[in-house]
């Protein structure tokens, strides 16, 4: 895995297709200064409020953070699934994919494209495993029809071939062929989740975005499904963005991780780095709140304080009201996401040169 990709300032995003610069050949998805806000009676809820992160080809990128930090909204924004009263306030999402005609890569900005232009990319290049598969399947359609409809929409294949594809994908996620004829209510939660995974991989997309796919399932089923995801990823050369609040899941699955808090990215690094040596005080808090099994029992430390409201994020560093190291500068200046160590980004004043001098 290319863990130490150098993140440089990206070129100014343009409308539509942009040739990928050499320095970013490995980047599959570049999320830049993305803001997704919700208009409410009491004002704008700045749920995602300026996220910058790059997802590389063939990695599993774990997106972590407490619930309400905006991680689901971020991926829904990337997928262009935000519905009114939510809206994309600003930002660019550059997606690089191979165009089948001449084998060359094309980069598009998902945010400036019209929905009609985004539609052909869906499922063929970007697939999605939704949060809560329970309600994501149409209750009055057979499983096979639900999976096949995306195939038939995007390719000029025959119905028989599409059905054969469906069987094969169901098999890949460990479901018997008989499931194809069933209706969603006849399946267990784990089976439904597998169906959404099978559906997502029918057209061999480059990018799979999975939003808390296993959260509602019991631990055993969760483990099996995670293993299946990893197998599938190997077989199909997938890039996966995996959203979860569960650090233990990320530890098992992710190559690199991004930690979100209050609508912004606090820290990005490899999973090993983040678990071994978390830089941001918030990340440190998250890691410490995982109970260590096998080690001497000690009280699990949560992070004191409450998560802030997207209607009024704290000034300066958004974490400062809960931060044990808070200094005056944290209350005034919002720290940018900078490379603190090679390949590691963190948004915290502690790692700036000014920290020691600050009061």
């Amino acid at each position: 895995m290319s863990n130490n990709t150098k993140v440089t300032t990206p070129p100014a995003p343009q409308q539509g297709t942009v040739p990928a610069p050499l320095s970013q050949q490995h980047a599959l998805l570049q999320i830049k200064d993305t803001r997704v806000w919700y208009t409410t009676i009491t004002g704008e809820a700045r749920v995602v409020d300026g996220v910058d992160v790059t997802i590389n080809k063939n990695e599993v990128f774990g997106l972590a953070g407490e619930s309400g930090c905006g991680k689901s909204t971020l991926v829904e924004g990337v997928l262009r699934l935000i519905k009114s009263p939510g809206h994309i306030k600003s930002g660019h999402v550059l997606f690089t994919y191979p165009k089948s005609v001449n084998g060359e890569d094309t980069t598009v900005d998902l945010f400036t494209m019209g929905l009609n232009e985004v539609r052909p990319l869906r499922w063929q290049h970007i697939a999605y495993v939704p949060q809560g598969a329970m309600n994501s399947l149409n209750p009055v359609m057979r499983i096979e029809d639900q999976i096949a409809d995306a195939i038939l929409e995007h390719s000029k294949t025959t119905k028989a071939k599409a059905m054969a594809n469906v069987r094969q994908r169901l098999d890949m996620v460990g479901l018997p062929a008989s499931v194809a004829h069933m209706y969603p209510h006849e399946l267990s939660g784990g089976m439904k989740q597998r169906v959404t995974i099978a559906s997502a991989i029918t057209l061999r997309p480059e990018l799979l975005i999975a939003d808390e796919p296993t959260t509602a399932l019991d631990v055993n089923v969760q483990k099996v499904i995670l293993q299946e995801l990893l197998d599938i990823r190997k077989q199909l050369n997938l890039t996966i963005v995996y959203v979860s609040h569960d650090m233990a899941v990320h530890a098992e699955l992710a190559d690199r991780m991004g930690i979100m808090y209050a609508g912004v990215m606090m820290e990005v690094g490899t999973t090993i780095q983040i678990f071994k040596d978390p830089l941001h005080p918030y990340t440190q808090g998250l890691i410490h709140s995982i109970p260590d099994i096998g080690k001497e029992r000690k009280r699990v430390e949560g992070i004191p304080g409450l998560a802030p409201s997207p209607l009024a994020w704290p000034n300066g560093c958004r974490f400062h009201p809960r931060c044990p190291h808070v200094k005056d500068i944290c209350k005034r200046v919002e720290p940018p996401l900078l490379e603190a160590r090679p390949g590691r980004l963190v948004a915290c004043h502690i790692y700036s040169e000014l920290w020691d001098k600050a009061s």
């Binding site: 208009t39 409410t40 009114s84 009263p85």
Partner: protein
């Protein structure tokens, strides 16, 4: 109260409905002051005061009808009577509905089964034939007895709505808490359930009112209205086999049905406005 203010703020329909129905009610209240000069001080229902089928003139701005009554007087008196019938029947239906709904919903079990089965039986009997049958034979068919008869057919809907709401609320934690802490049932009903049910009571009332008025028009239109007053429905009957049409008396043809429609529309809008406040999904535009 807060609920009404919120509905007013949220829903344009509610505003429209409240304003329209208020204007009509005020018109009905001051009706005698308006029609007295044209009816020579008589109550509108008294027949044969004037020559029949007179065309509009300064003495009779809307003309007179076949029974020799002033059409303006008919109309204003009819508006009064129709609204009064609806109001009385609505109150009566609500009262019965509340008792049935609360007892069935709160008690549950066998009592509920019996009451619900009975309500359902009443709901499947076509009401119009029976309404007509009753109005044919009832000895003193005044406005009040008629309202009472109409209420007989309006309460099952109210009972059903209220029962559903009571059942929904009964299992909520604050009611269970009150029960566990040993409060008696009446107290729970009046202090915990009633306040939360007010919107639904208002809606049931409005619904029963409309139902009763529709029923009143239905029987008055075939000439079976109250004997002591004129209603808007009776005016439609009085237009008399289109005698009014051939004589060019447009007012009596158009005004009563138009005003009835306005009444129904405005009450429906009030109801819908309240529903929209309770269930924002119904609003035309969400968010924003």
């Amino acid at each position: 109260m807060r609920f009404l203010i919120q509905s007013w703020k949220v829903s344009g329909k509610f505003k429209f409905g409240v304003i329209t129905i208020s204007i009509l009610i005020v018109l009905a209240l001051i009706a005698p002051f308006i029609y007295m000069p044209f009816t020579q001080g008589q109550i509108p229902a008294r027949p044969g005061v004037f020559a029949p089928w007179m065309l509009p003139s300064p003495q009779h701005p809307l003309g007179t009808e076949g029974a020799g009554r002033d059409v303006l007087g008919d109309f204003l008196g009819g508006l009064q009577a129709t609204l009064l019938i609806g109001f009385l029947a609505g109150i009566a239906a609500l009262a019965v509905g509340v008792v049935f709904g609360f007892v069935a919903g709160y008690e549950g079990g066998t009592v509920d089964t019996i009451l619900t089965t009975f309500t359902n039986m009443l709901l499947v009997i076509p009401s119009y034939p029976i309404l007509v049958g009753l109005t044919l034979v009832v000895p003193q068919k005044t406005l009040f007895t008629l309202a009472f008869i109409l209420a007989l057919f309006s309460w099952p809907f109210a009972a059903r709505t209220i029962r559903a709401q009571v059942i929904g609320m009964k299992n909520q934690s604050y009611v269970e808490l009150a029960k566990v802490s040993g409060q008696n049932d009446f107290r729970i009903i009046f202090t915990e359930l009633m306040p939360n049910l007010i919107p639904y009571l208002l809606m049931s009332f409005a619904f029963s009112t409309v139902g009763a008025m529709v029923g009143e028009v239905g029987i008055s239109i075939i000439g079976l209205g109250p004997t002591d007053s004129i209603t808007l429905g009776m005016m439609i009957n009085l237009a008399g086999g289109w005698g009014a049409y051939t004589r060019g008396l447009w007012a009596i043809l158009i005004v009563p049905p138009a005003v009835l429609i306005l009444i129904f529309v405005s009450i429906t809008m009030v109801n819908r406005g309240m529903e929209e406040y309770l269930n924002p999904r119904l609003q035309n535009v969400t968010g924003k």
